[in-house]
Amino acid sequence: MEGLSHTGKMKKIDRLSYLPEHIIYHILSLMDTKDAVRTCVLSKNWRYSWTNIHSLYFCCGSFPSWIAFQGFVTHVLHHCKDLNLVKLEFYCFDGGLDQSLDSNAIIGTLTSAVFEYAISHRFEEIETDVVDNFPPTLFECQALKRLKFDQPTKILKELTSFATLTTLQLNWVEIDLGNDTLSVNLRISDLHHNGLIMINAPRLKFFNLNRTYDLFLWMIKCSSLEEGEFVFYDNTADSETIVVELSEAMLALPMVPGCHLNGLRSMLKEIVEKDPIVSTDFEITWLVGVAPNF
């Protein structure tokens, strides 16, 4: 190996110590927080570097017990410098640890602590599989821009008053939005929902519905909608749903402002009745410019 000695290239250099601190902190912020904290033993220079991270990634799956997870999260929240938080990822149901009554209590306590920390540090993005026990102030958080929920068993009801949110992403979350007003880009995937979703969102610009089951989607007053994307599961339910008629179909609908999706439904039905075998990448692009009231 020594034969490789291309002049002094073999000399040991702390390459990252050449980097400005803000870049080191940024790299640490992109990692699982457990990995970031472990850099404290790299060298004396690195001992407290991790306390400058701007994002937190807590995932119970990389811990041997709930006690360890709780201990870690508490340690981090206690020692991190008082900086604004860019992003929080918080996963408690990722299959790493068994769920029990005790674990539910720990998750509840941690959720409050983590969210209170995040809110007071003006976090901008969150991804989580925890869908309850939020502090009520979450919904008043004025810095939040992106919210992603991943949790197969919970029903989400509250989605009000997110003035600054630009993207909402829901995976495996049932939603019951009622008439909540959304002003976001809405992405919904793997939705387990039988029935009606009503979306009344005058400022909604982008809507993505990915792999859902039976659903009657009613988009009313979505006058800012510029683009909708819909990917459906194969299914056989009654004709009230657009899903049935467009089994496995993928639509890219560049819609005109004021276009009502419930109005499009009858048109889509007609197409499918003519040709019941809908191709898997069925694309409707001719809806551009269609008048809203047909």
């Binding site: 390459r15 033993v41 790299l42 017990s65």
Partner: protein
């Protein structure tokens, strides 16, 4: 499509950049302007354009072609309608990092930081983070070429202070 009126390909302004080791690179103006450092060089000095050679003190010529290639491709991705499929961008990014050693990656991060281009810097720092995720302390030390200046006692104490981060970990 034909409406891109003034794109007469004969008249693309070029800017000359000089790498740390003195090598010159002729770069189309819009590509050069992706770099905030180059852009600010001309602020309030617009007429100086074209003729001036912009010195890039911290960028070695070894990395210039790759970096310029990144700007060219990514600015094309941004402009394209409809936007390019995610796979295409991913394929380009992966090819970009292929065969780059850890040391080259670090040097490019420093270059991107100096050139002050957020997109490239974000991309490279993300790549660095990915290379060390889920790795043992020893691996990360070797990756960065860090000399451990702790005594074994000190190291043990710091591990104990942060015990939860080391819990349940198989050191390899």
């Amino acid at each position: 499509m034909a409406s891109s009126s003034s794109s007469s390909s004969t008249q693309v302004k070029k800017i000359t950049l000089k790498a740390a080791d003195g090598k010159h690179f002729e770069v189309e103006e819009p590509v050069a302007m992706e770099m905030e450092t180059v852009k600010s060089f001309f602020v309030g000095n617009e007429d100086a354009m074209k003729d001036m050679v912009v010195p890039l003190l911290n960028v070695s010529s070894e990395h210039m072609p790759a970096i310029l290639d990144f700007y060219r491709n990514h600015s094309e991705f941004r402009k394209r309608t409809p936007p390019p499929p995610a796979e295409e961008v991913k394929a380009f990014n992966e090819a970009f990092l292929e065969n780059k050693s850890d040391e080259q990656l670090m040097e490019m991060i420093m270059a991107a930081n100096f050139l002050n281009t957020k997109e490239l810097l974000n991309f490279l720092t993300e790549a660095a983070a990915n290379r060390i995720k889920n790795k043992s302390v020893e691996y990360v030390r070797a990756f960065f070429g860090i000399e451990n200046d702790f005594t074994p006692e000190e190291e043990a104490r710091i591990r104990a202070e942060n015990e939860w981060a080391f819990d349940g970990l198989d050191e390899d």
